[in-house]
Structures are given as structure tokens and as C-alpha cells.
Symmetry: C2
Subunit: 419 residues, 2 copies
Amino acid sequence: MSRPRALIVVTGSELVRGERTDLNGPFLAREALRLGLEPARIAIVGDSADELEEALRAGLAAEACFVSGGLGPTHDDRTVEMVAKALGVGVHVDPALESQIQTVSRAAAERLKRDYADFAPGVTKQATIPDGAFSLGLAGTAPGLVIGHGDGQVAVVLPGPPSELQRLWPRALESEAFAALLARARPPKRRVLRLFGVSESAVARALAEAGGDGDGVEVTICARDFEIHVDLVIEPDAERRADELEAAFVPPLEQWLYSRDEEPIEAHVLDLCRARGWTLGTAESCTGGLVAARLTSVPGSSDVFLGAVVAYADEVKQSELGVPPELLAEYGAVSPEVAEAMAKGARTRLGVDVAVSVTGIAGPGGGTEEKPVGLVYLHAEGPNGGIGREFSFPGDRASIRARSAVGALHLVRRLVING
Amino acid sequence: MSRPRALIVVTGSELVRGERTDLNGPFLAREALRLGLEPARIAIVGDSADELEEALRAGLAAEACFVSGGLGPTHDDRTVEMVAKALGVGVHVDPALESQIQTVSRAAAERLKRDYADFAPGVTKQATIPDGAFSLGLAGTAPGLVIGHGDGQVAVVLPGPPSELQRLWPRALESEAFAALLARARPPKRRVLRLFGVSESAVARALAEAGGDGDGVEVTICARDFEIHVDLVIEPDAERRADELEAAFVPPLEQWLYSRDEEPIEAHVLDLCRARGWTLGTAESCTGGLVAARLTSVPGSSDVFLGAVVAYADEVKQSELGVPPELLAEYGAVSPEVAEAMAKGARTRLGVDVAVSVTGIAGPGGGTEEKPVGLVYLHAEGPNGGIGREFSFPGDRASIRARSAVGALHLVRRLVING
């Protein structure tokens, strides 16, 4: 028995022009998969009426069609009009929705110290929905809609900004029409393995040597954020097969396996510190605050993470981290010695139990014969000592900085586990 | 006269499932735009034969169709077979291509310590191309192909890995069939306006009052990264029309217009400081280093940006930024008084000319009646005084933090311009 198909239509001229990367298609596709639907196509179109209409007609033919974007107040936001046209229904102004949008827009007008009159026409436009549509209420000023049609088919229409789309999504799942469709779907089980420090091909080889996937267990290996993420999608009847496969291919990878859940490494590190009752801080040069920014992206991080010193200039390394000028003179700012001094300085200055430091050459400039672009030193220092690492990372400035940040987080993990 | 349309078909099951974000669609779309083609649709499909065939048939109907992925050695790499089927032509093994792929595969077999026999069938499969196709040679083990068909139409078929696709792309541009199509294209001019502190609706209204776009000038208004980005795509013969439109709709928006190029605000701020000979630092609480991370993302930022103190805990605000405990006790960490003290402290401690501070409640926890989630105070302090701002930002933790960071960067801009 095949799964209900989900077709995704993403609209936005900046997306179809490649000026911005679409995040909604992948999110909706992952959700479809999780819910037991078959994500079959993601179509990204601009605000050309013809393109949008063609994509919507194709999308609305499937059991489930998820549409993102084109709900804004401007003249080229055409999604509602086009969905109604494709379904052959009319549109009307939803009074409840209109007053909700009014309230938000008045607040926005005040916040931006703008005349509300600027917003009024957009408000009415955004409160106009297809006949028979169910309003999910607002995220931002744009509404979300669920429309049941045809023979148990469902269209879910959501705003383009990813945070707004993701806020309204759970409400869509609860809507009567969508819930009825999902009752017919067969959600697969999912298992995740997160590894760091091993190559994608090594993991692929381990899987192949274990007999590979198939027989109701589909394995995806993908390098993401400089980790290797292995996802097992398991048909309702294939649990045992999945256990056997894992038992065969995980053991040789054990030393790189750091997690069996979706929790990102920064949250994982905070949990480990919390469990030890240790506080955490960072001392960053080439990452310029990326490590601290990732740690503080986690809600409730403030009980573990106390602060950071971004010491981009050598003077700041001396004044704020107490790195001895002789050390900088003798070994240079990008050296294991300075990395260690930065971490130790951060422990004292920030009064934290564990500090991790990053110093390196992110490029494109600043590289030399003996210290090329991509050379990065990390050091984690804790109550019971420290560990250092040297890396030569490939890629451009952004990628070297990101790799350094991920490396620093994993180094803290290692220190807290072993220290 | 309208532009030749370019439809993009991206294949890859991990892409249609959202397990990996597609980079090829956006790359090919930007290239199409630059070359004077109209990027009209990006379709992402998996390896289901039906989906792929439908997407290819639709794509190949356009003047230009760019296809990525599905050129691998395995049975579910169906792109070549499906393209040939959709074009109604046969396939054949290209001997030159076969020997190229053989060489690469023998090397891979050795590296992976596997029998070449495992690779042989895949080699022949990958060397099989549609009749009439022009081979671009190899990147990795996958070939690139250009196929002229119909009435001057072109299909470009490239490997899925972005680096391989981008390596073969320039060769595709030089192919006879593609060059002939591009000769008929008319690259547009592009102008950009970057605004901050004004709403999307207000900009849309200003555009409407100026007569709106059209007549060879297409205007896209889009809220991105909490700024408003206005892009004008201008037909070769519509320069004057663009000037007139700008003259009419820009003046009322002048006070929010901060840039006429693509340079992000962090680079813009660094340039402004550099021009004044001023150094820059940050003092961050709720943004946790985001402002510093954005500034240091710019190559060469080190001559202006010296460092940052991320003072997440109040103790760090006192010890590293010299914020008086009485101030924290009397007004609380989230207050204009503490924001000002943080910025002034950072100026002294980091030895910078300009410092900007951020303190606020990013949530989801920590909000109170009088200090709700989203309340953020910013303060920029320079050699000639300072300015503060209070915001109540909507959205989730990530969005409040990002808005705060953007707000801080724009506050520095204002200070440096007026100070």
C-alpha cells in the first residue's frame, strides 16, 4: 500500500531567482516524511501568475499540497487568489481574521512609528481567503489556511517566513481535514545517529559491509554542519530488520558516535556540563563569537554558559584574557601555546569551570607558508586539565569558521566526558 | 519581447525529503538571471521514475532546461534514460567518455581497496548518453551533457554534487547549442535598494503611489533579515523608466534607505568606521556573540573590529564590563541604564572607539509583566557620545536574537554617520 503523496509549492521570486535559499520546502518535506506521507516534489516558483497557477494546479492534484509564501500585503502576493482559482472557488474577507490582522498591524505601525493608513489596504487583502478555507490564525501578519477539497484531499497554505510557517504548522496538523488525511497515512519509525570526526564514505562503507539498507529500512547518510548524520527510516513492520542492521554497522563506528537523538551538539554540550555542575565560557579569535552564539541559541543556556571574550586583536588577547605578550611574540597568535593561554585566561577572567578557545586563520588573507589559511588551534580547559587540537580545514572563510565552531563544541564534549 | 525561460529540474531523494538543502537550483537560477534568461521554476524530485519523467517533460518544454543529479552508477540514477525518453531519442555508449570514467573508477577502486569488477557495470552505465548529446567531460565520475533539441531549445544535464556541477557549468556555456540560445537572451540591468526601520507594506505603498512597476522594470520588495530589500530588474531599454520610477518612489523612503548595493549591513558598518578611522567592539548579552560573529564574517574586518565581551551572566557584566552592581540591582540587567554602562565599559575594556551593547529578553523563559519576552535595549557609544534604543521584538528566540543583532548593527551605522 503506497503512501498519500505530498506535493510542495514554494513561492517567492527571490527564491526562484536563487537570491535566497528556500528553507520551507525541506521543512515541509521532512514533516511529510515524518507523518507517513510521501514527499514527491518541491516546486519553487516566482510571482508570475502563470507559473504559480500551473504549479498549484499540479500540486493540488495530489492527496496533500503544502503551499508557502505569497500571502503578504503586496500586489505580487497572489497565492490565495490562485489557490481559489485552481480549486474553482471564490474568495471572501474573513472578519475575525481581519480584526486579528488589524490589531497586529496597529501595533506594528506604533512600533515603527508609522501611520496605520500605510497598513490598512494590506490588512483587508491579507484577510481575504478562499471560500471553504479554515483559518489557522496569524503568525506575524500573514494567516495560515487549510482547505479540504476533492476526495479527502488537503491543501495547507502558510506564510513564507520560515519562523511564521513553522509556528502555524502544528495548528494545521490539528485541523479536521488534515487530521482525516493523516489517519490514512502510515508514519514510519525513525532512528538517528550523529557522528563527528569520521568521513561520509567511511560510514557508507560500514553500511555496505553490513549488507546495506532495503527490506523496509532506508538509510540516509549525509554530511551536515560538518557532522555525519545517519537517518534510518523504518517501515512499521521492519523494526527487527533495523535492529539487526544497526547491530552490524554501528559497532565499527562507535568511537565517532556522539548522539542518538536530534539534539544539536551545542545543546548536548550544555546538558553534559549541567550534569557535572560545571559552568562554561569561550575565548574566540577567528570564530568571532560563533561558538558563544551557538551555545546561547539554546533556551535556558544561561545556567551553564556565563560569557565569552572575543579577542580578535592581540591587544585584547593580552588585556582581556591575560595572554602573555612574550607568548604572542614567540609563537604567534595562531599557535597551540596561545590557544591554551586563551582558554586558561577565559577560565579565570570569566570565572567558569570550562573554557574553550579558538584561534586560527579563516582567510582569505592572512595565510603564510608555515601558517596557511585553514590552520586552526582549539583548546578546552577544565577543572582537571585541558586538551588541545590542531586542524587544517578546507573551504572558504565561512566554512572554516563554522568548522572551527563545531570542532570547539565537540572538544568541550570530549573534555567534559573524559575530564 | 520576453526572455527565454529556464526551468530547473533537481533530482535527489535526500533533497525531495528535505534531508539535505539543495544548492544547485539556486546556483543555476542566479546564473540564468545573470545570463538574461528568466528562471521560472525549480522542481526538486526524488528518484521515482514517474515524478522524474513528469518534471523533465515539463522542464524540456522550455527554451532552456537545466537538470542536476541522477547521473550516478546505480539503477536509481535515471536522468539520462528519462531525458532521452522525454526527447524521444535513443541512447548510446560514448567510447571516449567510457575510457575517461574507467580511469577514474580504477583509481577509486584501488583507493577503496575494492575489486574494479564492482565498478565496471556502473562505468558503462555512466558513459551511456542520449543520441545527439554533447559531452562536457567529467567532474568526479559523472559526466555533464548539453543537448540541443526542438527549435533552438537546450537541455544542460549536470552531476548532483554542487562542486562538480559548478566545475562543468562554464563548459556548458561554451557549448555551441547553449551559446546560440544565450545569443538570443538579453541580460537585464539590476539595481538594489536596502532599507531598515520601515515596513514592507509602507515600501509597497510608496511603490504603488509612484505608479507601480512594469514597462520593463520589475520591482521585488522583500523583507529579509529584518531589513527591506528592493530589487529592480531592468530591461535593456528601460533605464529611463527605472530612473523615473526611482525618482518618484525613493524620496519618501529616503530616511530609511541605507544602501544601494548588495553589501550586507555588517560590511557597510565596517566601511563607515574605517572611513572615520574608528575601531569597533561589542558588548552582548541576549545576542550571545551574534553581532561580533556577523562583523567578523567580513574578510578584513580585523583592522576595525578588535573584540567583544559576551556578558551573559551579571557577574561577567560587572567583572568584564565594569557595570556597577548598584545599577544591576536598581534597574535590572535589561534596562537602558545597563545597556549604556555595557557599551561604555566595552569602550574602555576593549580599547575601541565605538562599542555597541545589546541586553534583552530573548525568551522563551525569563519574561515578566513589566519586562516581557522581546524587550531589548541597544546602546551605541562613540568618541562624541552615545545613542540608545528600546525595542519590543515579536517572534521566537532565534528571531528576537537576530533582530537585536541587525538593530545593533544599524544603530552603530547611525552613530558613526551622525557622531
